[in-house]
Amino acid sequence: MADVTLYHWEPNANSGKPMLALAEKGVPFDSHYIDMLQFDQHKPEYLAVNPQGTIPAMIHGDRVLTESTAIMEYVDDAFPGPDLMPADPRDRWRVRWWMKFMDQWLGPSFSMIGWCTFVGPSLAHKPEEEREAMIARIPLPERRAAWRKAMFAEFSESELAESRRRIAQGVGMLEEELGKREFVASNQYSLADINIFNSTYMLPVGNADLCGPQITPNIWRWLKAVYRRPAVQQTWAMGSGRFTDRFNAIMGEFVA
């Protein structure tokens, strides 16, 4: 049994962050797959680990850690292995800035569109009472409200439009950022790359109008560089492929 246990869903967005950070550091961990669409995160076994009922969560020794970006910072601080934060204070500031920008501004927009187009519809076949019962088991009021919107398709056109606007804007900013430096926020692969890659690798699949080799050459260069990393391949092998397969198919042509 490893010293670290990670509760995660697919290698994507928040779950993918600590998975990839641990892989980059070379830290072995016991993997507990929490199937978000089966609502594993609201079952008593998991609530005993994280009463908030959100994923991911990590156990190290007798400590439970939550919040994906903060877990990554902990992983980088607590374990030997390659540094996933640059040494220069201004670069470190920039890494944090981009992670917050993703976690609080751009990420929620990706998430809203994803929940509207994928998560919600994948549960639409369940009878109404069953969906209501699922919602009733969710501990956090914010998450209850989010699930209700997704399961009953209650997103307004204006909030979806605002999310799409932010995605287009954010992709443009990322393209510009990657024109300034080799990686996001510094010239060194860091937590910012792990964070942002996990939320953007699907762009060429889902938003080919915004991101591709011609329109966003800098993002494309960066996606290829990150995609080639052994830790990424190792992490993706832990998923069901439900997100990564389509991206693999695209990248296969470009990364030989």
């Binding site: 903060a70 902990y74 201004r90 920039r94 920008f101 501004w105």
Partner: protein, 260 residues
């Protein structure tokens, strides 16, 4: 060239000034009028992404070699790390995680709530009093569309009653959370003094007047606020005020979580 542009010592401008003084770094500071939009017209900025798209809204801006740097907690970490460690953050990884988690709760839950209430109470009238030409000129300098919309909503006195209620609840919850954290008799939130104290104090300070009920019976919280306020760094930051009541100085801040 390095320059810290800051508003009245309240919220993020207060925590960043105090963190700077804790660090002892010799960085020049320059007060600006945030509600006049001066933050969006700073000289010598060649890379403005972090200024234009700061999640925290109208916070202080540190300009280093033309690059605008924002976000109060990260600026405090920057000062700490630029000195090689001046005691603003714990070095133990777990203690650091705890501090970061605390600060995230403060910036995600407390600061949007305080900014919402504070702006409506004390900044709405000044924006509403601007002539259309004056306001348009200001709004045109704001690059981020959603940030500009928060300015416009404030000027137009667009009030969401549910957000007001939710914000009041969040302020009260945070005061109670501080009280609980101090229950074991510790002097500072994380045990040793840290950025968490400055960030939390800087946002709660203005609420003693506006949301007095939130502090009723929270004796440890109030004593802790007095302790933070008495620190020389905080006193020095408060002395940068140009207004009589800096705790009433607000400009559109972080947005209230829109999803998730």
């Amino acid at each position: 060239m390095t320059m810290l542009y800051h508003g009245e010592p309240n919220g993020p401008s207060l925590s960043v000034l105090a963190a700077l003084y804790e660090s002892g770094l010799a960085i020049e500071t320059q007060p600006i009028d945030l509600l006049a939009g001066e933050r969006h017209a700073l000289p010598d900025v060649t890379d403005s992404a972090a200024l234009d798209y700061a999640v925290e809204g109208e916070g202080p801006v540190l300009v280093v070699d033309g690059e605008a740097m924002s976000e109060a907690v990260f600026l405090a970490q920057y000062f700490d790390e630029a000195t090689g460690g001046c005691g603003l953050q714990p070095s133990d990884p777990y203690a650091r995680w705890q501090m970061l988690m605390w600060c995230r709760q403060a910036t995600e839950r407390l600061s949007p709530a305080v900014a919402y209430l504070g702006n409506l109470a004390w900044s709405q009238k000044r924006l509403a009093a601007m002539s259309p030409a004056e306001f348009d000129k200001l709004a045109n300098t704001i690059v981020s569309e959603d940030q500009r919309k928060r300015w416009q909503d404030l000027r137009d006195d667009v009030v969401d009653a549910a957000k007001v209620e939710d914000s009041k609840t969040k302020v009260a919850q945070f005061a109670a959370r501080v009280e609980a954290q101090l229950a074991d008799g510790r002097a500072w939130l994380m045990g040793p003094f840290s950025i968490a104290d400055l960030e939390t104090f800087a946002w709660l300070r203005s609420m003693r007047e506006l949301e007095a009920d939130a502090f009723a019976g929270q004796a440890r919280c109030l004593a802790w606020m007095a302790r933070v306020e008495a620190r020389p760094s905080v006193q020095k930051a408060l002395a940068r005020a140009t207004a009589d009541t800096p705790a009433r100085a607000f400009a559109p801040g972080p947005e209230i979580n829109r999803w998730g």
